[in-house]
């Protein structure tokens, strides 16, 4: 692994050079908070921004994504035959992604890229994307990422990890993709590897000290699904829930989607939208029957999926990276850290 230093004076120029080959995404601020968005030529990433309200998952998995189209015009040879839409798979780079969000992308990959099926929309976007992370020097009070297998300077899922050293960035190039990106920016000032790594270690330790929230997940895999499912605490957990989709939409690891068809004139479009297990419609059968009819069942599904089903199915820990977005955004303050603790400590009777 090699390290480079990037003088902050050169940062904007490097980004501009990379725009020739990359579509650049990064955090930008508007009146409603900070978001990861495509950066138009006049925009530069706000590297010292706080946590974005929404996670960067939409870079690979847009909230609404066209999948297939067909013509309904019977005079056309190929009428009613659905074909994939043309996609823009030019290279893209996400700047300033937080390390836990990069881990989240690997967790989502387990769903979209598996031995049986590969989702071409997600997989192609993933292949085209370079993730340039920035270590989090001052994690906020909702951050519990050290409990979830990552942390403020985790490298997993990243192509480059940078550290903010006031007047410069120190960047650790982790993959070939990362190297290509650095090349495209013209960042080539090598830094001493041993010294740089030592610096990273110090920064990581400092940052980890600032994380005060933690959860225990060690007992989850030992529990029985049915015991947790039937446990008495779900009514209390779910009481305040208003069943909006906020937690699922802000979550970097929630991948569920809905498929919808629409037509305009003679064109049919099939597209997908993020969906939420909080919505009764998510599981509503056409017959009217709904296996998760009540709010409590839906709240239980969300936490069971993240903290138990996923754990059992993939053996990769919990389906949560500890970003704290759902904790911060939930209108009724349902806190996954508390629920995780209750589940982890649950003893069946």
């Amino acid at each position: 692994m090699n390290f480079i230093t990037i003088d902050k004076k050169d940062w904007a120029g490097g980004i501009d050079r990379s725009r020739k080959t990359y579509r650049v995404f990064g955090p930008v601020q508007d009146e409603n908070g900070c978001q990861i968005k495509p950066l138009t030529p006049d925009l530069y990433p706000l590297m010292d921004a706080g946590v974005t309200v929404m996670s960067p998952k939409s870079v690979l998995f847009p909230q609404t994504e066209k999948m297939l189209t067909a013509t309904l015009d019977a005079s056309r040879e190929d009428h009613h035959i659905m074909k994939p839409v043309e996609k823009d798979d030019t290279l893209r780079v996400v700047l300033g992604i937080r390390p836990y969000d990069a881990r989240a992308i690997l967790l989502v990959k387990l769903n979209f890229d598996n031995p049986d099926y590969q989702d071409p929309y997600w997989c192609d976007a993933y292949a085209a994307t370079t993730f340039v992370g920035l270590g989090v020097n001052r994690p906020g009070p909702c951050d519990f990422s050290t409990s979830t297998g990552c942390g403020p300077f985790s490298e997993e899922g990243l192509d480059v990890l940078m550290a903010d050293l006031d007047d410069r960035y120190l960047a650790k190039i982790l993959t070939e993709k990362g190297e290509t990106w650095a090349g495209a920016c013209g960042f080539d000032t090598t830094a001493d590897a041993a010294e740089s790594q030592a610096l990273f270690d110090i920064l990581r330790k400092e940052a980890e000290k600032n994380i005060t929230a933690s959860v225990d997940t060690d007992q989850l895999s030992e529990k029985s699904i049915l015991d947790l499912h039937e446990a008495p605490f779900w009514d209390d957990v779910a009481f305040s829930c208003i069943n909006c989709g906020t937690c699922t939409y802000v979550c970097p690891t929630c991948w569920c989607f809905d498929i919808q068809d629409e037509t305009k004139h003679k064109t049919a479009v099939r597209f997908r939208n993020w969906d939420s297990c909080m919505s009764p419609l998510f599981t509503h059968h056409a017959s009217g029957h709904n296996p998760r009819e009540s709010k409590v069942q839906r709240v239980r599904q969300r936490f069971m999926h993240k903290l138990k089903y996923f754990v059992d199915k993939y053996d990769q820990g919990i389906m949560c990276v500890g970003c704290g977005r759902c904790v911060a955004s939930c209108p009724v303050n349902i806190d996954i850290r508390e629920v995780c603790t209750i589940m982890n400590n649950h003893e069946s009777k």
């Binding site: 609404t64 066209k66 629409e262 037509t263 305009k264 004139h265 064109t267 479009v269 597209f271």
Partner: protein, 55 residues
């Protein structure tokens, strides 16, 4: 109130019309439909509620 709200969000007031027309008032119906069509035509095609995805 519906009309006021539409107008408030910037939709042209003339796109919404209310009339009492009895089933016996055929000529009034024709007049009203004519009036509405003319007004809406004068406003040109609505672009505010035209979808983009299916382009």
């Amino acid at each position: 109130m519906m009309g006021n709200l539409l107008e408030h969000v910037g939709v042209e007031r003339d796109r919404l019309h209310f009339s009492w027309i009895s089933s016996a008032e055929a000529t009034k119906f024709v007049d009203v439909v004519k009036e509405i069509s003319d007004k809406v035509r004068a406003l040109d095609t609505d672009k505010k509620f035209a979808k983009e995805y299916t382009k």
